[in-house]
């Protein structure tokens, strides 16, 4: 069973990653191999089987809505690539 065609440009756009022509070519071929390999999952009968999201028997965990001490502004911004007046600077978003 062969895998579905990969539109690498569309995927790169969805993933917000610029890929070079060389990367596009290489990734498309390698992903094709992987998809061919995982296509064998199509032969498994999964009728009536519930999907497993994770294997911990824990669901709907709620935290009390109370204020607790957190990072200071300085700490929260210490890794920001650009900042000014306690804010993160980004290129202009709205005209």
């Amino acid at each position: 069973m062969s895998a579905d065609k990969i539109d690498i440009n569309h995927l790169a756009k969805l993933a917000r990653i610029n890929l070079t022509e060389q990367e596009k070519e290489r990734f498309a071929a390698q992903l094709g191999d992987v998809l061919n390999y995982i296509a064998e999952l199509k032969e498994v009968d999964v009728t009536g089987i519930e999907p497993t999201a994770h294997a911990s028997p824990v669901y709907n965990v709620w935290a009390e809505d109370i204020a607790k001490p957190g990072l200071s502004v300085t700490e929260a911004l210490q890794n920001a690539p650009a900042q000014r007046d306690n804010m993160i600077v980004v290129p202009k978003v709205v005209e």
């Binding site: 993933a15 998809l35 498994v44 999964v46 999907p51 999201a53 994770h54 294997a55 978003v93």
Partner: protein, 495 residues
Amino acid sequence: MSEPLHYKSVAELSSELSSKKISSVELTQAVIARTKAVDAKVRAFNSFDEADALAQAKASDERRSSAKTLGVLDGIPIGFKDVISVKGQPLTASSNMLKNFVSPYDATVTQKLKGVGAISWGRLNLDEFAMGSSTENSAFGQTHNPWDLERVPGGSSGGSAAALAAGEAPATLGSDTGGSIRQPAALCGVVGLKPTYGLISRYGLIAFASSLDQIGPFTRTVEDSAILLNAIAGHDPMDSTSFKTEIPDYRAELKKRKGPWKLGIPKEYFGEGLDPEVTKAVEDAVSFYKSKGCEIKEISLPHTKYAVGVYYIIATAECSSNLARYDGVRYGHRSKDANDILDLYFKSRAEGFGAEVKRRIILGTYVLSSGYQDAYYVRAQKVRTLIRRDFLEAYKDVDAVITPTSPTPAFKAGEKAANPLAMYLCDVYTIGVNLAGLPGLSIPCGYSKSGLPIGLQLIGKPYGESELLSIAHSYEQEHTWGTRHPNIEAQKGAL
């Protein structure tokens, strides 16, 4: 023969500290000296902070001299895989994306280890964002296997395994998403434990695939594994998948549980692709258990052949979602020549991520994209249910499952780098454990003719770490594989 300090177990070091035969400063100095002597060849560390480690050691010695010691780990240096936050220290995930990132807080495991006086000692190399099986995908250069520097240490926690094997730390922490603790432990000849999903908090661990990731210890002995687990297991409100369960004293339990056990051998794990030397070593281990009165049963885990496929759908889907946070805005690499905000995302991610990370994000994006989600992602989650059921069904009949950890001993660097699928298949025996959320342990069970370590994997019941460790301990008591050390000095450094 007495071992040098850098090759002693945590248990031994702890008793020498408590009898004041050695101080923590002496121990830490020995570990630093050893690291400086061999790490140019092994390249296990991304960074370490000598002054900080010595300051922690001094504080530990002061606690001890005023009879305020914090227990068995007080004064013991522990290395951290460079995806576990240690406040004030770099946290890179071996990625250019986080090259200059400094942890603003401690991970829960870090806090717990500091709380019992352990010394945080350095950050260890890995495949970028824990994606890989060889530690070749690190943006800062590959780690070398101390047993043969031209071979890989396994991955993704290759730095954690290699550092321990080379005597650069008495114990280390890693993380395991599809085998990233057990496989490098096997390839480097040490003990590696991937605990049950939910036993150890993931708070402060850089996320790769959140439904599979679990932190665990690398140690020289099974007893040390129990000592580390005692310190880091337990419920944490900061991780919503953390499980509330009673945590036994794993170390004390080792002595109480003596078997014999019922052990299952899954026929699907002994097929094509398994190296004959690995087969032989695992069969010898099975014979050992049999000689101790254990009942050995052939079992079937019929969905095994789908595990790698299921894993690469689920793990990449979760990674594409988790790694969306690296957008060049709040932290991490930001492109210098972006024209607008969208361009900033595209360029920062293109420049910051390495090839394997990009490949997995793209695959994950594909399996989650409109029109394919049901065919790939949801179907994989359903097959995951069947894989988990296979194990739970088997556990009605057996106490643990025995398999090889890795199909082969350590392979040569570069051998699989060009073929992602061949690399993914390295994890064929370890992946099922993550999908099913079970505890898995790799212990040394022999060496190949060329002197490379071979690992035995034991898989336990959910939250059955006590029993699992006891089964491993009973083997270790009568075998000395784990006491051998690589001869790094005699080897020329690889490129």
